[in-house]
Symmetry: D2
Subunit: 375 residues, 4 copies
Amino acid sequence: MSGQLPNLAADAVLKQSIDVPDTFVKVSGVDYSKDSAYDSKATDLINSMRNMGFQASSVATACDIINEMSLWRGKHKDDLEEHEHTGVFDNEGYQRSTIFMGFTSNLISSGLRDTLRYLVQHKKVSAIVASAGGIEEDLIKVLAPTYMGDFALPGKELRDQGLNRIGNLLVPNDNYCKFEEWIVPILDTVLEEQQAALKKAGNDALDADSDAVWTPSRLIDRLGKEINDELSVLYWAHKNQIPVFCPALTDGSIGDMLFFHTFKAAPQRFHLDIVSDIRRINSMSMEATRAGMIILGGGLIKHHICNACLMRNGADWAVYINTGQEFDGSDAGARPDEAVSWGKIKAEAKSVKVYADVTVVWPLIVAATFAAQKP
Amino acid sequence: MSGQLPNLAADAVLKQSIDVPDTFVKVSGVDYSKDSAYDSKATDLINSMRNMGFQASSVATACDIINEMSLWRGKHKDDLEEHEHTGVFDNEGYQRSTIFMGFTSNLISSGLRDTLRYLVQHKKVSAIVASAGGIEEDLIKVLAPTYMGDFALPGKELRDQGLNRIGNLLVPNDNYCKFEEWIVPILDTVLEEQQAALKKAGNDALDADSDAVWTPSRLIDRLGKEINDELSVLYWAHKNQIPVFCPALTDGSIGDMLFFHTFKAAPQRFHLDIVSDIRRINSMSMEATRAGMIILGGGLIKHHICNACLMRNGADWAVYINTGQEFDGSDAGARPDEAVSWGKIKAEAKSVKVYADVTVVWPLIVAATFAAQKP
Amino acid sequence: MSGQLPNLAADAVLKQSIDVPDTFVKVSGVDYSKDSAYDSKATDLINSMRNMGFQASSVATACDIINEMSLWRGKHKDDLEEHEHTGVFDNEGYQRSTIFMGFTSNLISSGLRDTLRYLVQHKKVSAIVASAGGIEEDLIKVLAPTYMGDFALPGKELRDQGLNRIGNLLVPNDNYCKFEEWIVPILDTVLEEQQAALKKAGNDALDADSDAVWTPSRLIDRLGKEINDELSVLYWAHKNQIPVFCPALTDGSIGDMLFFHTFKAAPQRFHLDIVSDIRRINSMSMEATRAGMIILGGGLIKHHICNACLMRNGADWAVYINTGQEFDGSDAGARPDEAVSWGKIKAEAKSVKVYADVTVVWPLIVAATFAAQKP
Amino acid sequence: MSGQLPNLAADAVLKQSIDVPDTFVKVSGVDYSKDSAYDSKATDLINSMRNMGFQASSVATACDIINEMSLWRGKHKDDLEEHEHTGVFDNEGYQRSTIFMGFTSNLISSGLRDTLRYLVQHKKVSAIVASAGGIEEDLIKVLAPTYMGDFALPGKELRDQGLNRIGNLLVPNDNYCKFEEWIVPILDTVLEEQQAALKKAGNDALDADSDAVWTPSRLIDRLGKEINDELSVLYWAHKNQIPVFCPALTDGSIGDMLFFHTFKAAPQRFHLDIVSDIRRINSMSMEATRAGMIILGGGLIKHHICNACLMRNGADWAVYINTGQEFDGSDAGARPDEAVSWGKIKAEAKSVKVYADVTVVWPLIVAATFAAQKP
């Protein structure tokens, strides 16, 4: 065989390809002949990443989708029937998309809290879904700081010192003691209010509009009001009437405090109803003129927003950012296309999943989108 | 330099090591000189994996820990004071460990449901924490099957056909229609019961022991009773009085049905309280003589069990199995040692994280532990 | 809106699905009513995993594919022309598939070495591609053991003690000193042989069949002969004439020793040619009647086998097992379908990727396939 | 138990922590009160990420380390003995660190090629280690472009069209045909040169300094010269005398061409020696005054640079960027601390691993470091 080029191999290796259609886009990168490549601005960087391939392109796509959902405008209020006055409107009276933003607890523990707060402060989003830690850590950070640590710090020594580790961050346990001092009087008060409402409403106390029914979103709103600090996400959510949903609000430090409170208040007990909150979030989805999803992390916060968007037969835009993989069949790892099969994202929607730790890409994405013009 | 071996390199490469201590264990694998290596049994395979390294060793460690937590026995009831009669006892009256098992929704969708049901049926675990899908999919599977699919099936076509994808599985949407038919009468009934209890209890209706307070675990128990099918995890949980916690029970199909029911029942509304459930799970943790955690998957179900175990200053054993990574600071990816820093796992506890899709390792682990002897 | 079920939501949630085709396969799991579920055998476990979903199903598919490629038989030698006498034949003279098995260095460091050796010893595979560490660690393990360690052992202390860490394994540096003592005389000899061949061949010394040309596979074969130990993978590869390819053989301890040897032997120098090895592996691919790929890990060993199979316009079967993900565009993470686009796997081939650490699944897979019958 | 707060829980939850040391750094994020937060510049963004936690902090640390290794200066040539004139010097005669940069093939396929080329063009790095595709794709891109695709494009259809997929990129197979046309005459020439050198050198043909010995780095240098295009990484590597190592150069399209060439040239054959290249890269490591590693991706390119740095008893700085995880014991996933145990990174070195797809972070990192000032 030595002297003859084998056809089998030659044909396989040198197989001819079709003529490339005109629509094909060439891979390209940063153009270092331009000044904008040096210490570049967020928007320039994103533009350079658009046709770079792999996740660089996904990041750029995420920016495009966010800009689109954020800047979308529909009809003016005056051109709508009364019953069409649902969803979100801009200051000039035009329909806007309803943007559901979900984030996990660790992002509030990280320095991203400032970015999330910025978005809420400036009404860039319409509703929030967070895990329990995403609620309490925002409040606790008003009381005392979180510190930089290291992924490798040994658990036993940290526990001896009362330092709780979250990835490469540390939260001194005293922060939770301060949180207890702060929240117990509030829990006393809301319990009183609940009991008073029960007495007042009597047999209607568990009806739809009963003031005796407290939900996680209602309690979170109260906490945001009470914390009264401009660095807090929840403060601005309260101020801007952006509902914050957290169906499992008991799953963390607030849960610990509610648990303790069951002893203090016995035989009375404060109750949190989750049915009225599912009514609330699903109604927002149905009433939205257009709906966008921005999901930072996985787990409950991802599923909850997607499920709400099923009520409108799918979101119009979706951006997922997380590190989950689909191979284990987890919802956290599911691609947007899985949500399409469920009717949670419309088939014609623009969607993208960015496979990245949120802290790596979200500051850049926000800098190049929501914050590309100063408000 | 050509002719002379450089000392710098030689010293670095040929650096002498310490004498290996006698305690060091040699890496080893399957011994194919033994018949047990051929079509081997689960216990033989696990024994061969113990000193194999990487995650093979972690799987074997998980088996060791599970055996230890499962077989642990304390004092006899007769040797305990009345107030010490808390936690779990075996049939002969000896103290057992309280085992909290958490799993995510997708595992119930998968064929692992049979394995999870086996564990509940035979009282191998003491309490369950599941995500909402982990509840409803167990019930739905009694009504209609889930099917094998493919990760790459396109979402749009699936939606057109009404086939919902979960990883490489498919759930026909009719299954959810059947579920609606099944659950609506039950929701009617429990609403009636709640309203009746409200009327009966009056101003005490929101007290600790009020019958008007329904929690997720109470509703799940009722659903397990109603489904009345021996293939169901929840049926056996009801039968064996194993509480099933799901603080965000509204985050899925049951939530859709509860949402619909708010329209049907208006102005009445069924309510689900999550405070009494945090009281319940935390109390189980405190009352446990010893506590073990078996956490299959990440997200809420992982955090919720860990948080409950903080109430007893830490679990005594912990097995995590999931694919999460710690680099993004997620709780899903956190190693057991992070939970040690929080007091959720005792410093001296035995713990392991197995980095794997649960479906790959859990059948093997159960075969080699809980199911190594026929009950 | 309170009293009326919204059609939008109802239609989306209760969308009717198509009638499920008869071909659909129901998800199922372990049947604990059978004795085989208890301490189950590998083949029983695999059968239970087949329709379990997620990666459990992938593991079962991998077993099916391996059995198929392993048991495939073609024509008898007597029914073939002389020039068709290429590829692999079984002992009775029937055509077999050529199986390329690739593995990364860490697998030889782990206890999987015994399993890999078993496969080579019993001629279950036809050719091997390994990374450099996969060669030298097999030899070194004959000289001294590798030990169990821990992923979290601190690097500085280990370096002070001369203990090299590989994941949760430890290799004392003295092992490499012993390796140097063992290999230097062999390098002296092969250099002598190379120089003698050069002198003998003169101007033909760099021709195709020149004895002066040493390739990585030729040196590895010699090392396998010299190590002369039945626990060694390379010993059996030599004995069974199974070529072991390692184009970057200098990338590790053997490279260190070759580097040192350049000083000792100067101005003479031993040379290793990689062109003749690409000729050799590609020829095996072209001459194969059928070709199967078993790729354990990622990186070079994966690409190299795939690339060789391009020469035959694609492998007929492919099993990948690794933890790589496709989102970063790495070859390590690429699914088999990416190789189809290149002609490295046939479009009609059976292929699967199992997303798992190899140590977790390979012992089980081998127990249920190659080792399901004692040879 | 109802009325009394359990001490066990209270003590565990409200455990007091130590006083936080002054050295602790507070977690912080983007300061949106500053104009620099809006469409922010790379350096401002990086500064905001430094104490953000998780991988945001790792990205900032990577920038710090890169700046340090890049800007480090030692003694002036005039203050050194003749034998100390090794390693890299800046234009003014001061010692610089030797920077080894490794990258995988897919990064050259992506738009990052421009960034990698920029670094080589401006002598920001001292040596390169690439996988085979990282060599040939740079050359091929001069001949014809790579295009944007999608991760989900089906392999069979692509193969029918002759479009090869790399993640979400597409390379028309004609590109490889063009490459063959380009490279065959060069292979003819280098074979002639090798044969001529053999004849000239005779019995010394395989000695250390023989011109008959061609290595991958020598061939790559020639290809960089021949391609003669300012968009090519290899062109600039040739021009700036930056060696490019690729021990497994045959593992890709160049290997295909070398394989074909063995038929065309028979009985003559071009040979590539890898021993002289390990001598070369290890010598660079030993001669370096300080050594830094920038490793983009995993597999061979990572191990090869680390191994070279063992020859100097460890690199002084190390930046890893990849998506590999350590749990499977792979070298790709190993943290820098594993390399410390081997003496490949100094114990006192600054090192970081960024867990991210390189395309997401490398443009930003380069913009904020090497390209923060226009050259």
